[in-house]
Symmetry: C2
Subunit: 315 residues, 2 copies
């Protein structure tokens, strides 16, 4: 085998690929250069996982990489019909984000239960105002998305004494199917969206679903912005259909400064950081290097995405 | 036995004592009336647990209640040498606050790890600024105070994957003695103060102790304000000896509007609410009613305070 070419769709800081020195020809590209370089690449590393450039560049003519890896859990930014129909293998960064995102969701749940956002506001005003918090133990959560991230969220909430229900694409042991969702939403204190973005999940949290929830319910999205109809959520908060929400992901990122979401009542806005803990980029780089070594030696790759479904199928 | 007199040192809202109707003569008093009414009371319920009035009224001459119950975990606000030397039994609300305070500490730890205070600040400014959070699992906490509150905090942090060390008045199975404290502080990511206020614990977190901690350490106080030398903490934060802190309790409560603590860098100020979750006053009232029924029927009381030590001795 001649030395394979690894094309990296760059983002700052660059991945550490030193361990692959001498075993691969590394080429770097930005979005504009991607289409021109795709034909000569054996492997594409989508390091800039916020870019839609792969989806746009792929449909052109000519040879294509045999393997595309994205340094993210979601693959919605790169899948297009032509890539899905091809025999190119797509893999993701399954595993790196599970525990950090679970902790982030726990942080949001506890912060909302203990009214911390209001505490900060009052501190700015030097105002002492005693309030009552809520107990988290004994409350009920519904986690939508039964992959490793949803499972980690469920485990962490359970450890805090929360009764949890996991909802996936189809019912199986320990997982509810979509037909149970409305019934579960109607009794939930916490609704956590952690599903991949697919044609089935796009816009699933709409006005009707927010209308099913309890007035005391709080909604958290750490999946993809497009799981939620943002206007419907803003309205549900304004009308107090639900008590609060936290969004870490948005249809447009960065969220534009003039978005009404920034000051929607009872909404916490964070900049897509739930899975990103100190050292995360190194972990993503190390994960890719290990996968590359498997690929180069002809061993089967882990984290292979089902390109029709749009995620890595699990148990 | 004639109908006993129960004197209640009032606070709004009053306790629900309906279940005791016909079995006790209930009298209510404010701080000013306490000294005059103490001689005729069999039982004193310190419902206003923020008041130092008992300590001030007790030393006077004459008969005194045989039993004093405080609707709080701490008893530092009522113990005086005369009460300690008397044969009056003192009980506290041990048990009601454990789980809520443990959750509150977890909320603060996770909020600091995930940089939520800064997220709120940025949201106000409509600014999208991605940052990296910290993983909580795998970090190390020292919890000072080995009573039920400290134990509940330890259990909750453990459930989040934190390695914990509990420090009490004396070493025993599962508990470190004071001689281990400095060594433990030097390696801790989180230092949680949850000890009762006694002559041994007053001012224990001083400039020297903050100097022992790691620059990355964060300090949380949910015990009593006087455990901490507030000026030393403010200085430790200003000089970045430690990375952050959260205080829920203060030497003077409410914290005066002109206190420099309100805007000390990296300090979260909350209004002594860590243990107070929806329904807490009802729980405190129900706990007292149950204890009163035991007392009236001559059965031994739970939660009896060691008046020399200043807390309910445990395992």
């Amino acid at each position: 085998m001649t030395m394979p070419t690894l094309l990296v769709l760059d983002a700052d800081p660059l991945p550490r690929l030193g361990r692959l020195t001498g075993r691969v020809r590394v080429e770097h590209t930005d979005e504009a250069g991607l289409a021109g370089r795709l034909p000569s690449a054996d492997v594409l590393l989508v390091w800039d996982f916020t870019s839609p450039a792969v989806r746009e560049a792929w449909p052109g003519e000519g040879p294509r990489p045999r393997w595309v890896h994205t340094a993210s859990a979601g693959v919605d930014h790169l899948l297009c019909p032509e890539l899905a129909a091809s025999d190119t293998v797509v893999t993701n960064a399954r595993g790196v984000f599970d525990q950090p995102i679970a902790e982030y969701v726990a942080a949001l749940v506890l912060a909302m239960a203990k009214d911390l956002p209001r505490t900060w506001e009052l501190q700015r005003e030097r105002t002492w105002l005693h309030r009552e918090g809520q107990k988290v133990a004994g409350t009920r959560a519904v986690v939508v998305g039964s992959g490793p991230i949803g499972r980690a969220i469920t485990a962490t909430l359970k450890a805090l004494g929360v009764t949890t229900a996991l909802v996936g694409r189809a019912a199986r042991t320990g997982v509810h199917g979509p037909q149970d969702l409305d019934r579960l939403l109607a009794r939930a204190d916490w609704v956590i969206a952690a599903a991949p973005l697919t044609e089935r999940t796009r816009g699933m949290f709409d006005a009707r679903r927010f209308g099913v929830m309890q007035p005391s319910a709080r909604f958290v999205n750490v999946g993809r912005g497009q799981l939620v109809v943002a206007e419907a959520l803003a309205e549900a908060l304004a009308k107090r259909w639900i008590a609060g929400a936290a969004l870490d992901v948005f249809e447009r990122e960065p969220l534009p400064p003039d978005s009404p979401l920034w000051d929607a009542p009872g909404l916490i806005v964070s900049p897509h950081m739930s899975g990103d803990t100190v050292g995360w980029r190194d972990e993503l780089g190390a994960q890719f290097v290990e996968m590359f070594e498997r690929w180069a030696s002809g061993r089967p790759l882990p984290n292979v995405v089902d390109k029709e479904r749009g995620y890595v199928p699990g148990h």
